[in-house]
Each structure stands twice: as structure tokens, then as C-alpha cells.
Amino acid sequence: MPDQTFPLRKSQLWRTLFRSKMGILGFTMLAGMILVALFGPLFAPYDPYEIPKVTLGDIYQGPNIRHWLGTDDTGKDVFSAVIYGARVSLLVGFAASIIIVLLGATIGMIAGYSGGSVDVVLMRITDAILVIPSLPLMLVIIAVAGRGLTNIILVIGLLYWTYMARVVRSQVISIKERPFILRAHAIGVSPFRIATYHILPQILPVLFAEVVLDVSYAILSEASLSFLGLGDPTIISWGSMINRAFLRGAVTKGAWWYIVPPGLALAWVTLGLTFLGNALQEIFNPRLRTHHLFDEHKMVARARLAVNVDVSTEKVV
């Protein structure tokens, strides 16, 4: 049965992406959140960094006309806080992903291209980092090194590059045996040039699919760190909002409006990235399109697909 050949052309890429409902959904969700992060603060009704003058009655208000998502325990508007929080999460996500790509792709390429002992050593290091539980490790590092957005971004980047390295490495390994690479070798092109001019463009699609997923991991990690009290104390992030809610008794007071929206926003952006990332992976690294165990009722399709085939009768010659 004919197979699809790669690499895909750009036009084919957009068409296939849009054929994937998951891809469209993920893309839309992500785009929505990016818009909120970029322009939301312009339209937010309040500035969540301003300390409002409040009376006792303003604390933990339920959703109302003046505060669409109610207020928190200091009377601040939850809706605005959620909007501002988008910037933090996305900033962390994208900033960390830069480190992940630079570090992970480089190491992955070196390991995959060199092979031999260089590969073994690099992969052992990568595996060692992968084995250690990530959140506990991040916890101890931040606890010692100090809370702050830069630290968080660094720690996430320095831990998650390993995922990218593995993916890039396996792609490089499968590409480096291809004829056009071997030919470039034979002509005498330098390994560095082969890596950057020939191999790199080929791995970009898979790299991109992986980075989308890595951004989601980064965002969730920052949220978890903030929830556990190790977020940047000067910044309002979704994780820190839920942390405050939890510590200030929002659960017992039943102040769901302080808890649900930030988490929902987190889930929204993570889900969008996951859907998009998975859809891209399906395109660039497709699962086999065939299997042997499918529904037989579909297989025999004579009645359904009433095809006009002239069953030839034999003519005697």
C-alpha cells in the first residue's frame, strides 16, 4: 500500500493540520490565551497589583457586576488577576522553551550525529537527569537558590532539555544514514555544515512538535512550584492564586470563584498545547496508518460502495 513520503511541504502541512480536529482545537485554544496575555491587561477592569481600599464586606465577594469573578481575601478582583496571570505562565513557558531548545537540540544533535562513546556518555547523563523526580528536584533547588521568576525559568529549562535531547537524537540518527547526507559526506562537506545546513532543517518539524509539549510541561511546573509556595512572591501567577486561596481558607468559605478560574485557565492553556502538540506529532512522526484488527463489517463494502465494475464474461476466441 502506498506510503506518504516526507518531508511534507508547507502547504501540505497546513492542510493536514486543519484536517486534524485536535490540531485546530489546540491551536485555537492556545491562540486565545496568547491574545489574552498580550492584550488582556489593556482591557482588564482593575490592576491586580494595586492594593484596593476595602471594607470588610468587599472580601471574598462572589461574582457580581463590579467583579465578574468576585474578589479574593484582600478584596482584589479575581478576573483581572486571572488575565494578568496569563502573561506569567506564557512568559515562563516560552522563556524556558528557549533554553530547552538550545540546550536539548544541541546535545541531541551532537549525540545523534557523533555516535559512539560521545553518544553513550551524553545519553547516560540525559537518562540520569530523567530518572530523578523533577518536581522534588526543582523544589529543593528553588528552596535553596531563592524564589524568583528567573530561577524558575532556569531550573525548568535545565531539567527539561532532556526530553528534547532524546527526541532530536533519535531523529538525527534516522536521518544521518540517508543518501543525501552520505553524499554530502563523500563530497567532503564539514560535519558542522552538514549538521546545520542539511540535518537541522529536517529535524525542525519534530523539534517543533516536541517544544509545544515542553512548553506545557514548563507552564504546569511553574504553577506547581507557585502552588507549593516557591513561586515568585512579587508576581501574581495562577499557581500562586490557588496557593493563596488554599492557605487563606477559600475552600472552607466555599469561595470557588477564587479557585476554579485560575485552574481553569491553566487547564485551558495546557490542554491547548497538548492537543496541538499531539496533532503535530501525529503529522510529523505519524503512527502507522494501518492495522490488522479492524472492523470486518467495513471491509466487505460491496453493498455500501456499489461500485460499477463490469464483471467480464469470457468471450470465446
Binding site: 522534588p136 537558590a145 504553577a223 506547581s224 507549593l228 487547564a267 503512527r287 490488522h292 484488527l293
Partner: protein
Amino acid sequence: MNRIDFLIRKLSFSLLTLLAVVIFNFFLFRILPGDPVQMIVSPRMRPETRERIRQIFGLDKPIWLNTASARASGEVQAAFDSQLFIYLKNLSHGELGESFNQHKPVVELIRARLIPTVILIVAGQLTGIVFGSLLGLLGAWKRKSAIDTLTLAAGLTAWSLPAFWLGILLLILARGKLPMGGFETSGAIFRSEWERIIDVARHVALPAFTLAVLLFGAYMIIVRNSTMEVLAEDYILTAKAKGLSAFRVLISHALKNAALPLVTIIALDLGYALGGTIQIETIFSYPGVGSLMYEAIGQRDYPVLQGVFMLLAVGVIGANFLADLTYALLDPRVKT
């Protein structure tokens, strides 16, 4: 592939990683701006305790190697009278220092809270694995059908949810129906062991369910992908050609092959599960090592942080080795 070689390779990897973690742990709490000693000894401690810790960990000695002492005495082994090697020796004896706040050895604190965490993880993992695998298998079989899309969406969604948020939501939803936290109803008197078990189960149910939901997504996707690959293999065609029904083919031929990667994934995912456990225990006030770590964060209790981290890292490294062992036993292609 030779089975013994395989295991030796994996064992040396585990041991090396362990060593790296240990040294990293040492490094993290000593080479930092300010007085590194404040990570091990705190003004909050009683003076006698402070002195004892200073002795045990040799906090007045050089950090890496005691070259001065070696030169003075002329013996090589005097060089190992440094903080690093004292630390390693202490570690092998289970000496993890003393908590800043609770005035008890770290080991004791951990030991007291270990069992609840183990129960939580086992319960959560088992549930997550069973449901994840079943749905993953189903999804791969009924590919591109409504069931597949639904399970895939459910799995991806579960995978994307923040653990702490999910926990809080469930906590709010379960108000009045299940205990709000803790491991056992305090002060309760049980008429039988069975009643006690039921009580614990009621407390573990919600946290374990949260963990299961978190993990189910990961397992479902992995089993689904692995099954899809298996279903494209030739021996599946052979099985079907023999006249086996689709169900039989799945169970007798696809399952074992598709499940092999699961063994390694369970161990790898343990790290992720531990991260979730910390959050879950915090939310449900569940007295395990996860919430111990959380409390230590809040109180800047560095010895406890260090100790729990070591425990978790060792646990995951050990689990990974066990998984490799199991894999070697299950896959007949890895044989002597």
C-alpha cells in the same frame, strides 16, 4: 542480548546515578552564598543539638578534601576527613541530620510518614494503570471510532490538569461524603481491625483517586500508542488468519507485546507521580512524606527537605532498576 550483561549495565547505571544524586545533594546545601552551615544547623535549634550536629557532620572541617590534615599527619586517609566523606559515611548509616523545627532526627520523621505515602502511591498507580491500560487498548482497537476519540480526549485532558487544582476541586465536590483529610479519624476507637481498614480506605480514597486520574492519562496514551504499533505487526495478521476473534487476538497476542513498554514507563512515571503526590498530600492534609516536604518548604527546614528528596530520588532510581529487571525477565528475547 545477554541477560546478565543487560542487568550489569543497568545496575552500574543506577549506582552511578545514585552517586551523582548524593553528591549533588551534598553540593546543593553547602556551596551557596552566605554561610552554608545555616542549611544544616539553625539558630532555632537548641544549643546542645547544634553542637551535636556540628560534631556529626564535621562542620568545621574542609568541604571537599582535607589536604591540610593529610599533609600534617602524612597519611592519605586523613584527606578523607572532610565534610563530603563524612556526609557519605553518615548517609550510609541513615544519618540525615535533625529537623530545624521538630527537634527530631529527619529519619524518624520520614519513617513515621512513609507508610501513608506508600499506600497512596500504590493505590493511585494501580487504579491509574488498570483503567489507563484498558482504555488505551480499547482506543487502539477501535481506532478512529467515537470511543477512541472520547478516550483520547479524556486521557489528554487528565494529563493536562494541574494536580493541585484537581485535588481541590474533588475536595470541594466530596464535602460531606468523604473525610476531608488525614489518614485516620483521630481519636476514634475501632471495634475491629476491619473497621480500621475501612476508615483508612475512606481517607485514602479521594487522594488516591486524584492520583489515579492524573496518571491514567499518561498510561492510556502510552498503551494506546504501543498497542497501535503492535496491531500493525505481522503476527497479528497471522493470529487473525487462524480464525481468532478480535478480542482473542488482543488478549492472547497483542496484550503481552503492548504491555512490555508499560513496565519501564511505570518506573519512569514514578517521578511524575511523586510530584503529584506532594501536591495531593498537601491539599488533603494527608500525613505522608509529600506533605512533610511541603511543610519543610514553608518552614525553611533544610535537613528535612534534603532528606525527603534523597528518599524520593533513591526510590525512583531503585524502581527503575526493578523495572529493568522485570523487563529482562518478561521479554524472552533478552536471554542468556
